[in-house]
């Protein structure tokens, strides 16, 4: 069993009004050091793949097909093998 932590982030060129608004809120809370905020998505996917290589291959395909939109988003993921007890 594997647990994938998937991070979907906006491409650097894409305007992010959510991030800008959050930055504004942080500034008004007194976090004057904040320079920028980009909002993205975080997903946890657990899967019963036979090997790490297979899990990675499936994850990449999931990201490409559905989890991220390649027009506006990038993705990366971390894979952890879950040891059953």
């Amino acid at each position: 069993m594997y647990l994938a932590r998937v991070y979907v982030t906006l491409k650097p060129t894409v305007n992010d009004p959510q991030g800008l608004t959050i930055r504004g809120a942080l500034h008004s809370l007194g976090f004057a050091d904040v320079e920028s905020v980009r909002a993205g998505k975080y997903l946890e996917v657990s899967l019963a793949a036979k090997s790490r290589a297979q899990a990675e291959k499936q994850l990449a395909e999931m990201c490409r097909k559905l989890l991220a939109n390649p027009v506006i988003e990038d993705y990366r993921f971390e894979l952890e093998e879950l040891v059953s007890t």
Binding site: V14, P17, N69, V71
Partner: protein, 234 residues
């Protein structure tokens, strides 16, 4: 002979009956509501993907609906050159399905906007705008939270140079201004067509402006264009 329209219904679609009413109630055409599990649309002349929130807009608007069984039939319909319109959520679905370029993102206001807007006909030679004058201003409502059209510079340049921007947000007088753009769309884009010219995606709702009682009849122009297009082709 009336045209046969398929109005595709996904779980969460909400403008299906409005669209059916405009097409059959107002215009006397045949308009079937077609469930998203349908795999054959070959008997229809025109396919409409209406507005709403397919699959709750989870993940991204249109991201999950675009894998519905019907979408292969929708692509096949477009492939043979028949007219396909995506309105609002339908536009989002067409972009997610790569039948149209670009993507629709959260409005720059971060607000859901349900207002009347004006859009200018930028290309009056598409099957969807034949009955319009170039530069004609249509008053049509929008109702969306994710309608900000985004594409890379190359795609935008391509759309602009090949007349594929069908509609642009504008003032009542037809001027393209920042104030007239309700969602922050790049180049004030309200609707685009594919390179074949038979697939249109737009955020405004022409089906909701088809009778004086609705506040505007300007939406009829799109449907009347399709009827004219069909007549010319027959």
């Amino acid at each position: 002979m009336p045209l046969r329209f398929a109005v595709v219904v996904f779980p969460g679609t909400w403008s299906d009956h409005d669209t059916q009413y405009a097409l059959s109630g107002v215009l006397g055409q045949e308009a079937d509501l077609v469930w998203h599990r349908e795999r054959d649309l070959s008997r229809y002349d025109v396919v409409v993907l209406p507005g709403g929130f397919s699959y709750g807009d989870y993940l991204r608007a249109g991201a999950i609906g675009r894998f519905s069984p019907v979408m292969e039939a929708v692509a096949a319909h477009a492939e043979v050159g028949k007219p396909l319109i995506g309105i609002c959520n339908g536009f989002q679905l067409l972009c997610e399905a790569h039948l149209l370029p670009g993507a629709l993102m959260r409005n720059d206001s971060l607000q859901y906007r349900c207002v009347w807007v004006h859009m200018r006909v930028e290309n009056a030679e598409t099957p969807f705008t034949l009955a319009c004058q170039p530069g004609q201003v249509l008053r049509i409502p929008i109702s969306h939270g994710e309608g900000r059209y985004v594409a890379d510079e190359e795609t935008l340049a391509e759309l602009e140079s090949s007349g594929r921007v069908a509609f642009r947000y504008c003032s009542a007088e037809g001027e393209v201004t920042a104030e007239a753009n309700p969602n922050g769309s790049m180049n004030d884009i309200a609707g685009i067509i594919n390179d074949g010219g038979n697939v249109l995606g737009l955020m405004p709702h022409p089906e909701r402006a088809c009778e004086p009682l609705m506040g505007s009849e300007d939406g009829l122009a799109l449907w009347l264009s399709l009827l004219e297009w069909a007549k010319v082709r027959a």
